[in-house]
Symmetry: C2
Subunit: 198 residues, 2 copies
């Protein structure tokens, strides 16, 4: 599985790196997540400078595409030169996003008739696009999913893992990352939340 | 508050970046977390190349120092040229670590008589240092704390925030990052876990 974690200038570290770290736990099953950026280097919302691992166009061939969020997403949402590089298709790809990443998915027409999750700040902008925003950490329909709140990233990752690798591999990968002493309950909660959407 | 998130070659992205993202939510209260590295550039366990924001010695003057983990920590634990650059003091600093970061804290003599948390893989190495490892996501004594499991990072961050900024600011910062629709329960669980240690 090739996974594009879409990461734009001003990105929120939590969104991109939690998904990146969790999905790469499936390396033994042939999964490879890449920080995928519109330019060679990007700087995060807190000033962290990072080398992108794949160009934006990589997403078009990826099996899974996740939209992270950030403080410049409204600009990016109106930048056709950037968004025009993305040619995604939920018929052949799992596509997810969280927080302001949901806004980019809305702009790309990926959320028509799909109830969506996002953060409190982004909510009015997503609603302006005609999307029904719900008060939940996670929702999905078919191959399209959204999550709301930085720390909802494990839900989005668990959904992609469960859809793409099945329950046994997903449970094993999440179990490793879960807090010690709470592992079973932690993994159960993630899986119980996303399973109805799989 | 100046915060050093110690990040070594081969680092685990979850540990360093969850703490980094959460603690920087206290910017409005004058908190600034920095990815603090032994060399100018570091590459993560999954191949992510990143520019460090502060040199290792920054930790010696920081108010809060957090040890992330990674796949090369055993080598670093035996590298006196690297660890010798750290002169930390829990009498004047909050010091925390998670997973293999706990091993570095043990090597630096920061965990004497303090029950410690770490991940399942690192546990035997920490025990070899004479440390009592407990089956819990988080533990602290005075100004020294440890956590076990990548996704225990929010506990470690919540502890540092609660100790340094008080409950109101901590609750507000964590609330923003928590999953939508679960925010109160999520923040309560974090605070309930770390409060007995504060």
């Amino acid at each position: 599985m090739k996974i594009a974690v879409l990461t734009f200038p001003g990105f929120n570290e939590l969104d991109s790196f939690i998904a990146y770290g969790l999905l790469n736990r499936l390396h033994p099953f042939g999964w490879h997540a890449f920080i995928t950026t519109p330019q060679d280097r990007v700087v995060s919302m807190n000033g962290l400078e990072m080398q992108g691992q794949q160009p934006l166009e990589f997403a078009n061939q990826a099996d899974i595409v996740l939209f992270g969020s950030g403080v410049m997403t409204r600009d990016i949402a109106n930048d056709e030169a950037v968004l025009g590089r993305l040619q995604l298709n939920p018929a052949r790809q799992l596509i997810g996003g969280q927080c302001s990443g949901t806004l980019l998915m809305a702009k790309l027409g990926l959320l028509q008739d799909v109830p969506a999750c996002t953060d409190l700040r982004t909510k009015p902008w997503v609603e302006q696009e005609g999307i029904n925003v719900i008060d939940a950490p996670f929702a999905a329909q078919g191959n399209v999913a959204t999550a709301g709140g930085c720390l909802s990233a494990p839900y989005l990752s668990a959904w992609a893992m469960l859809k793409g690798a099945g329950e046994s591999a997903t449970r094993e990968a999440l179990y490793y990352a879960a807090p010690v002493g709470e592992k079973d309950a932690y993994v159960d909660k993630l899986l119980d939340t996303v399973r109805p959407f799989c």
